[in-house]
């Protein structure tokens, strides 16, 4: 088990650790369960830590990890939450760490991106800018409206998730989504990296052929009190994630009051005229940290040409 770990994703690692912890509790700590008393201090169990070493942990400090929700719970949403994302366009230099982190966590094929970074230019006179785009988790989601079987649904915490065990693959949601957020599983998924746990719409893995997938705002991480992987992966703190009810967003190092941030920095919705009411806000690319050309550094020549061609309007 240990020598395989190099390949494993962070997520799988967590589950391995959690399983080990549960196993330890159920075997060594039966006393705990049967007596239903507070565990005495001093008793320890061996656990596998995230960095791969065995550690002795006091049993009193062990609590069950929150697994990603299944079934009804995964459709209902995390109570009293209203997830929101703020993306600061002034900080993005197309480092693409959000993309690769997301692909790693969700075991996506190289070309399939649940968060994409576009090179945008609003008019010929204005400067181009990099534009990271996850799923907007709209409050009026056109994809949810058109789904014939309710495989994609809106939750109380604002998330729009896909249940790929119910999806019939009609792709209507993909034509209905105006933001190209959805990715179809055209062939049998490669299973090498996938966590060997049950599927949950909250983790979106393992994928299933002939169904639709998309950015899920990592609610499984939220249940553990962690940030989505695109947020933690970003070296420039571009993406802020938080809870509208608590009125706080953070990129891991800085935190802001959500309402103040979007108010003071003129936060806006992308294509607000479509009436979809996204839960992703953008801060305009003013006082930028990087010239947009810095974003080409990570790209191949071919990619550079491609990006340049695609932003210039021919007409």
């Amino acid at each position: 088990m240990e020598n395989k770990e190099k390949k494993q994703t962070r997520r799988k690692f967590f589950f391995k650790t959690a399983t080990a912890a549960i196993g330890a509790i159920s075997t060594a700590g039966i006393v705990t369960q049967s007596c239903k008393k507070k565990v005495e201090e001093g008793e320890t169990v061996s656990l596998l830590s995230p960095d791969g070493t065995l550690v002795e942990v006091d049993k009193a400090n062990i609590s069950m990890a929150k697994m990603p929700a299944q079934g009804k719970e995964a459709r209902a949403g995390i109570p009293n939450k209203k997830f929101v994302m703020v993306i600061d366009l002034a900080r993005c230099r197309n480092a693409r760490k959000c993309v690769t982190n997301c692909q790693k966590m969700h075991d996506l094929e190289p070309g399939d991106e649940w968060i994409k970074v576009f090179l945008m230019q609003d008019s010929n006179d204005t400067a181009p800018y990099w534009f990271p785009k996850p799923c907007f988790h709209c409050n009026q989601p056109p994809c949810v409206k058109v789904c014939p079987v309710g495989a994609t649904y809106k939750r109380t915490d604002g998330l729009v998730l896909v249940d790929n065990e119910r999806c019939i693959g009609c792709k209507f949601c993909m034509t209905a989504c105006p933001y190209s957020s959805r990715v179809f599983q055209w062939k049998d998924p490669v299973h090498e990296n996938q966590a060997d746990h049950d599927y949950s719409p909250e983790t979106s893995v393992p994928h299933k052929v002939g169904t639709v997938g998309k950015c899920d705002f990592c609610p499984d991480m939220a249940r553990m009190g962690k940030l989505p992987t695109c947020v933690t992966g970003c070296p420039n703190g571009v993406i802020f994630f938080g809870d509208k009810n608590e009125d706080i967003v953070t990129n891991g190092t800085e935190s802001f009051r959500f309402s103040e941030l979007v108010y003071e920095r003129a936060g806006y919705h992308f294509m607000a005229e479509l009436g979809t009411e996204p839960n992703v806000y953008y801060l305009p690319p003013v006082d930028r940290l990087f010239d947009y050309k810095t974003g080409f550094k990570t790209l191949t020549n071919e990619q550079k040409e491609f990006y340049k061609k695609s932003i210039v309007k021919k007409h």
């Binding site: 576009f118 058109v146 119910r166 999806c167 693959g169």
Partner: protein, 449 residues
């Protein structure tokens, strides 16, 4: 059932063709079956390897299959609308063509939805539509509308066929199974006045029901596209536009089918130039109506010149992209049929059939042009390094299944013609009834005055 002389003659003409098959017929049939087998092979590959074998990718998620779906549902209008309207209007010349029209309807309403199934990623979860169906989704509207339409068309065809089934039941066939079959379906019809009255009433009701139902089916189909926020689709005239395009192509296919059967079964005495002329004029009027909708649709989006609408328009008008296809579909496919039919000197059975072929092809291309350019124009820039994600090219698998659908259409038509005379044998009595009714009413009025 007692038959008049003319009906007996017709029956005697058709029955030998129903029970035998010529050598060239066997050859043609085996070619059709070959194409159908090709389709099944392609389907097998698609099921085993997944939809990766098609040209569809994340932007163009619907391709040839959906174009074929709209096309087949479109030509199903031949029977539903044409025969329904002709029946209600008591048009005398409809009798030799109405059966063919209704058969077209049923076959294409079966083949059309098969293409939706081909487009579905998870065929094994089809039952989810029943388990978790949501009435908010236009796909559920479509499922409901098309299944109702299919059932309605079958009832309509069946009612219009009962008289012939009764005549066939009484015909001295050699094979016993035919007797049993016709006896079962003829439901003891013997042509007495009471049965005839009920049958007429049923036919009237069904033809009145089938017309709005047919309109609804294609409207719902158009709404699948119209309800999305996509350039080129999000249009209020989409439903009537689709309906008109559908009747246009349906009439075209009906004319082609008449021509084929006339040649194949030597029906020159039944299907005459009059039928081609009348249907040609209907085709011309529908063509003009369709041209008007096309013009209105593209003029509006061009004049308003919203960014994304313009993107789609530029694709359609770009000679390197879709211009020649668009030119054929929206201009050649409409202007040529209208001109040829409009000028009496050009009007002949062959020329009307030829322009129908052009119109039907043009309409198929138009369906393709409705789906693909819009899907190739997402609102966010197409910055994907994978070329197949930017431009859609149908693969051999998709073409095989397309041809298999056309072959299946011909094959089922052939099967039908072996069980039923493709021209209705026993004429209903409603024509004379109405003449008499009019006479008696007139007499009463005269008496009173």
């Amino acid at each position: 059932m007692d038959l008049d002389q003319k009906s007996t003659r017709t029956l005697n003409y058709f029955v030998p063709q129903m029970v035998t098959i010529s050598k060239s017929g066997i050859l043609q049939l085996s070619i059709l079956i070959l194409f159908i087998m090709g389709g099944f092979y392609a389907l097998y590959i698609q099921i085993v390897d997944g939809h990766i074998v098609t040209g569809m990718r994340d932007n163009v998620v619907w391709g040839l299959y959906i174009a074929n779906f709209i096309f087949f549902i479109g030509i199903s209008y031949a029977g539903a609308l044409i025969s329904g309207i002709l029946h209600l209007l008591r048009v005398e010349w409809r009798h030799p063509i109405i059966r063919i029209a209704e058969i077209i309807t049923i076959i294409s309403t079966i083949i059309g939805p098969a293409y939706i199934l081909l487009c579905m990623g998870r065929l094994d979860r089809l039952h989810h539509l029943v388990l978790y169906g949501r009435i908010q989704s236009p796909i559920i509207w479509d499922v409901l509308a098309i299944s109702t339409y299919l059932i309605g068309s079958i009832i309509f065809l069946y009612l219009a066929t009962i008289r012939d089934l009764a005549a066939l039941r009484d015909y001295p066939f050699k094979s016993k199974w035919r007797h049993t079959l016709y006896k079962f379906f003829a439901v003891n019809f013997n042509g007495n006045s009471k049965q005839n009255r009920y049958l007429e009433r049923g036919l009237n009701i069904m033809s009145a029901i089938i017309i709005p139902l047919a309109v609804l089916v294609h409207s719902v189909l158009a709404w699948i596209f119209g309800m999305t926020l996509r350039p080129g689709w999000h249009s209020t005239i989409f439903a009537p536009y689709f309906v008109v395009a559908a009747v246009f192509s349906g009439t075209g296919v009906l004319i082609i089918a008449l021509w084929v059967f006339r040649k194949y079964y030597h029906l020159e005495s039944y299907i005459t130039k009059i039928h081609f002329n009348y249907l040609g004029i209907i085709l011309m009027i529908l063509g003009a109506l369709y041209a008007y909708f096309t013009f209105s649709e593209y003029l509006t989006s061009w004049y308003g010149s919203e960014t994304w609408e313009m993107e789609v328009l530029y694709k359609l008008f770009d000679p390197h992209e879709y211009w020649w296809w668009f030119f054929f579909a929206a201009i050649v496919g409409v202007v040529v049929p209208i001109l040829v039919i409009l000028i009496p000197q050009f009007r002949s059975i062959n020329s009307i059939t030829a322009v129908s072929v052009i119109a039907v092809f043009a309409l198929w291309v138009k369906r393709y042009l409705i789906i693909i350019p819009t899907l190739e124009t997402p609102l966010l820039p197409l910055q994907d390094m994978r070329p197949e994600y930017i431009h859609y090219t149908p693969t051999a698998i998709e073409w095989l299944l397309t041809f298999a659908g056309v072959a299946m259409f011909c094959f089922l038509f052939f099967l039908f013609s072996k069980f039923l005379p493709i021209v209705s044998v026993v004429k209903g009595e409603e024509g004379t009834n109405y003449a008499e009714l009019r006479k008696t009413v007139m007499q009463r009025i005269i008496k009173r005055t």
